[in-house]
Symmetry: C2
Subunit: 414 residues, 2 copies
């Protein structure tokens, strides 16, 4: 069996005028890859009959078309009538869809609106797929051998339906080609320099493997991936190639899994039964935020003190006012005081602290925008380092967060 062609269409004016970022396409791509399929393209169009019909027509060379969006209860949604036109059918009341909407409203203690009743009107020619996550229906229609699946645009609903209902059906119906990927997470080296270091290895890779460089906030993610009908051969070849790669760049690798650095720190601390706390000035709570997004973070994370107001650095963290006056708020002495102070205050094993100028204003000649001091306190003492992360505020915050976790990781491993 040959590989199937899968295309994604996202419908919504809000995506094209940029009020909403399309995250569904990336999520679908990832899930399909992991299941042995391959997303060939992803097209975003507006809420217009012509655009929708043209897009459907252009996808008739695919085996499977995943359509997201355009199924909500409000009037900007024109997908259903257009679907009827394309599939030469009409809308009819679907009892199963209606029962689902009623059940959902009852569960949530909400009152039904007339509009929600309209959501149970579905194309006659289609198969209704249950949605346990919301009121928008999911539909499966076929035309000349091409399967079209219509999903809600709300990511939470789309993901639930895909996992529960759709993927199992796809796996029954279509042939999946084994896919495998390895990710090596690096930090402290730029994309070009990394590429130079591993040039010879990269050029000698077998045809069915490909390497991608994915830089983000002071990290470069290296992805080696491939698809092959022989899953064992694929797996073994990836093992061999990764074994060759690692020694070339070992000092820059912080993880052999596709995970952010805070996850690596989390796992290390869980294994050691240890904890940390942060004292954040320029990162403004982001060190805490990325950690607390992870379930179970309360096991390793004691808390943060964001001390934007200078007196708080003294009052809460115990950094002497004279130290701040003598060396300035953005200084080695202050960041080390903060790291030690928060470690004591929160009764943690490690304390990590940041102080810097995130910009765009507030820079001086001695301490330009982008300057960030990061300090880590441990049972063995305190270390610190000065960075410059450029002029963009969000970039400074994100890069400082990554660097803080990297310093914390190195300290934990010492």
């Amino acid at each position: 069996m040959s590989e199937i062609i899968i295309k994604n269409i996202s419908i919504g004016d809000e995506l094209l005028i940029g009020q909403v970022i399309n995250t569904n396409a990336a999520w679908l791509g990832e899930r399909l890859s992991a299941a042995g399929f391959h997303l060939d393209s992803s097209l975003t169009i507006g809420d217009s009959e012509k655009a929708i019909l043209d897009a459907f027509e252009a996808c008739m060379d695919a085996d499977l078309v995943l359509v997201t969006g355009g199924l909500g209860p409000t009037a900007d949604d024109i997908t259903k009538p257009t679907v009827c036109k394309f599939f030469d059918t009409e809308l009819a009341f679907c009892q199963e869809a209606y029962d689902n909407v009623v059940a959902l409203f009852t569960r949530r203690g909400f009152q039904m609106s007339e509009r929600n009743r309209g959501q149970a009107m579905l194309p006659k020619a289609g198969l209704y797929i249950p949605n346990n996550y919301g009121t928008a229906p999911c539909m499966w229609l076929e035309k000349e051998g091409t399967v079209f699946v219509f999903m809600p645009g709300v990511p939470f609903e789309m993901k639930g339906i895909f996992n529960d209902e759709l993927l199992p059906r796809f796996l029954k119906r279509f042939h999946a080609v084994p896919y495998e990927k390895r990710v090596v997470m690096t930090t402290g080296i730029g994309e070009s320099f990394l590429a130079d270091r591993i040039k010879e290895w990269e050029e000698a890779l077998p045809e069915f493997l490909s390497l991608a460089y994915l830089p983000q906030y002071g990290m470069v993610r290296l992805r080696l991936s491939g698809r092959h009908e022989n899953a064992d051969l694929l797996h073994q070849t990836l093992d061999e190639e990764i074994t060759k790669l690692v020694p070339l760049i070992s000092e820059h690798i912080f993880s052999m899994e596709d995970q952010p650095i805070e996850r690596v720190v989390f796992d290390l601390l869980i294994n050691k039964g240890m904890t940390f706390a942060s004292a954040e000035s320029c990162t403004g709570g982001n060190i805490a935020h990325v950690m607390t997004l992870m379930p179970g973070s309360s096991e390793v994370f004691r808390g943060t003190a964001v001390t934007y107001a200078t007196p708080t650095k003294t009052k809460v963290l115990g950094v002497p006012a004279e130290t701040i006056e003598t060396y300035g708020v953005v200084s080695q002495q202050v960041v080390e005081g903060m790291a030690v102070g928060v470690r004591d205050l929160m009764e943690a094993d490690f304390g990590v602290a940041t102080t810097g100028v995130a910009g765009p204003s507030g820079g001086t000649e001695a301490t330009p925008v982008g300057t960030v001091w990061i300090g880590v306190a441990s049972p063995k003492g305190v270390t610190s380092r000065c960075f410059n992360f450029g002029k963009d505020r969000e970039n400074v915050i994100n890069r400082a967060t990554v660097a803080a976790y990297e310093m914390l990781r190195e300290t934990i491993l010492k």
Copy 2:
């Protein structure tokens, strides 16, 4: 002059397998709309010659094609040779592009690599567009009346080039149709109920205006937009319609501008010369994080204390241990104590606090996952409210953050 057709093509395997979310398309859509253009579609394809050639071919009905990605220094980029094939030209050394790369490396104090020299090899038939933000070149090529512009995929570089170099050229070359939009930000009412409330008004809107409902984390953004050759008429009609809309839903409106709720709070506090601080348990620093992303937030934000560890609630915020023992960590008494405590500690005018169960574990029968208490302390006293934000951790954190800012906004206005 009639309206031009603009299409976007994003190139990159990483986008299709979901390792990177395509944010460029949304950004381009927004910038084009604001400038009087309209993005017709956005297509994401992989790094394959066939996919790229097919996509170029499919865009020959457009006036302008904006291509992003595939121009980096590493070997996974095959865009340039494919461009040469499509435009029937060949790569040639471009001195201006080379000088730009050299200047950039000199400025940053980096050493050049051989790969970066390769970045100055450009299609002969094209026009080189300067990139002041990175080493990847930007190119402008034309074929049978269709303009293709090739931009780097790195958002920071793409945005800089678009703003500095491309948009001014587009405005000279193409006819822009006046576009205008109004956004009304609402909270505390669901999409369906909002739609029912404004049904009659919506149905009576003139043809050239359209309304979209954009729900996110306990808010619904209403966007009324239109395009019309007569900019004055468009502007006046929007004024009239918005004037009719507001009284229908006034108690749910928190802003008449497209801005997040933390921005509204920021502006209110700046105007009053007042400050706030937060004490966060279940939101884990997100209240601080979203505020500190904004330049100038140090004017109104004193800091946060994220107190994941229970003893810290007593030690840092002064919530009596007996209160925590008697009522439980997730309780009205504790959240009010936290709000009052952080207001005192950080010497702020307002204190906002959260305590809850973000999940997925940690729920009990009395306090199920999703339960969040939010409290706000002001010079006049302290208020609090209990919410349930469902079972998804990220959703709970984000909705609790929005609700906390809404309660803070209401308190400031009292």
